[in-house]
């Protein structure tokens, strides 16, 4: 085994691919997984180029990484970036079974392939690439002669995919969208809630931390000035600074006495 350029490229890109694959499977956050698999795909593109497949390498980066993985990231944004796995297994031992199955599969495949491919000659693609005047031309020849029907069937597939995406996600508007005037009128109806801006936390209070409710002109607390996540988590988080200022007045008056 000679140390040539291709081996170096293989070790670097192959190593990074494996690291990326493991990172994807083991990441807690889905966005990290998406970025790891993008890393795997780019390294694979370099390996394709090293295998005399320049067209495929470019298509891998442009289409696969650039379009498909970006689609994944978009959907992650829609679904919720922080959606994490539940750690509870539905079937006992499924995690262990999965790992064992994967390891067994790897051993079986590598062993089986290694034993039967020992001395397969590496013919290389120089002749095939030159046959039609280039790699792209050679692939084009195959697509439009031997694999023409697969090409047409893929067109049907893409139509189905587009149609399916529209069916499942396009919500038709069955009533006309409310105009600005209608929205404004609805806001000022009696019982519709607060028509103006809500006060920020801490207005007229002693502190303006996010858990300090604003004080209304009559001295009562405006609880809805505290942001919703803080309010819904725990009532004890909301600090009523009127009571504190009363205690301070009490102490001051005691000192004076």
């Amino acid at each position: 085994m000679s140390i040539d350029g291709e081996l170096v490229v293989f070790i670097i890109c192959g190593g990074l691919s494996v690291i990326g694959a493991l990172g994807m499977v083991l990441s807690r956050k889905a966005v990290h997984s998406a970025l790891f698999i993008a890393m795997v795909m780019i390294n694979l593109a370099i390996l394709y180029i090293a295998n005399s497949a320049p067209f495929l390498g470019m298509v891998q980066i442009i289409v696969y990484t650039g379009a498909v993985m970006m689609l994944f990231l978009f959907v992650l944004m829609v679904v919720g970036v922080d959606s994490s796995d539940s750690l509870i297994e539905t079937i006992r031992g499924q995690r262990l079974f999965g790992i064992l199955f994967g390891v067994a599969l790897a051993i079986l495949l590598i062993g089986g392939i290694g034993s039967s491919l020992g001395d397969k000659p590496d013919i290389g693609l120089k002749a095939a690439n030159d046959e039609f005047g280039g790699n792209v031309e050679g692939i084009a020849n195959l697509i439009f002669s031997d694999y023409l029907f697969a090409f047409q069937a893929t067109a049907a597939l893409l139509i189905t995919a587009g149609l399916g995406a529209v069916i499942l996600t396009h919500r038709e508007a069955w009533k006309p969208k409310a105009s600005q005037k209608e929205l404004s009128v609805a806001r000022f109806m009696v019982g519709a809630g607060h028509p103006g801006n809500k006060p920020n936390p801490g207005v007229y209070a002693r502190h303006n931390a996010v858990n300090t409710p604003a004080i209304l002109p009559d001295g009562s607390l405006a609880l809805d000035s505290v942001p919703e996540p803080v309010r819904s988590r725990d009532d004890s988080l909301i600090v009523d600074h009127r009571a504190v200022s009363t205690v301070v007045e009490l102490v001051e008056s005691e000192d004076q006495n």
């Binding site: 192959g14 997984s33 694979l44 497949a53 539905t90 790992i99 996600t169």
Partner: protein
């Protein structure tokens, strides 16, 4: 170098993807693992194309990319629909179907 190393790498990536499908509970990450398996298959085709000396492998890999893209569209549409209904992307939470 011996091109068979590419096949070993592809097999390793395929197995890691298979582990990902079986172990992870988040539907999107499971689907990403399937994409990894398809990429590994592509690497097998490209490496064998080079070893066999014909371009059929590269053409097949090209079509696999197109098919994978279409599958991603449908799969993510289904996942988005389930998410919107359920506000979660976990495979296990919909436990309405028992054994």
């Amino acid at each position: 170098m011996d091109p068979i190393y590419y096949i070993y790498l592809a097999t390793l990536l395929f197995s890691i993807g298979a582990i990902g499908v079986l172990v992870r509970r988040n539907a999107i990450i499971v689907f990403m693992s399937v994409e990894l398996m398809l990429n590994a298959a592509n690497l097998v085709f490209v490496a064998f194309a080079r070893m066999n000396g014909n371009l059929d492998g590269q053409t097949v890999a090209f079509f696999v990319m197109v098919v994978a893209a279409a599958e991603v569209v449908v799969g993510l549409a289904i996942i988005v629909q389930v998410f919107r209904t359920r506000a979660s992307a976990s495979i296990d939470e919909p436990n309405l179907l028992k054994y």
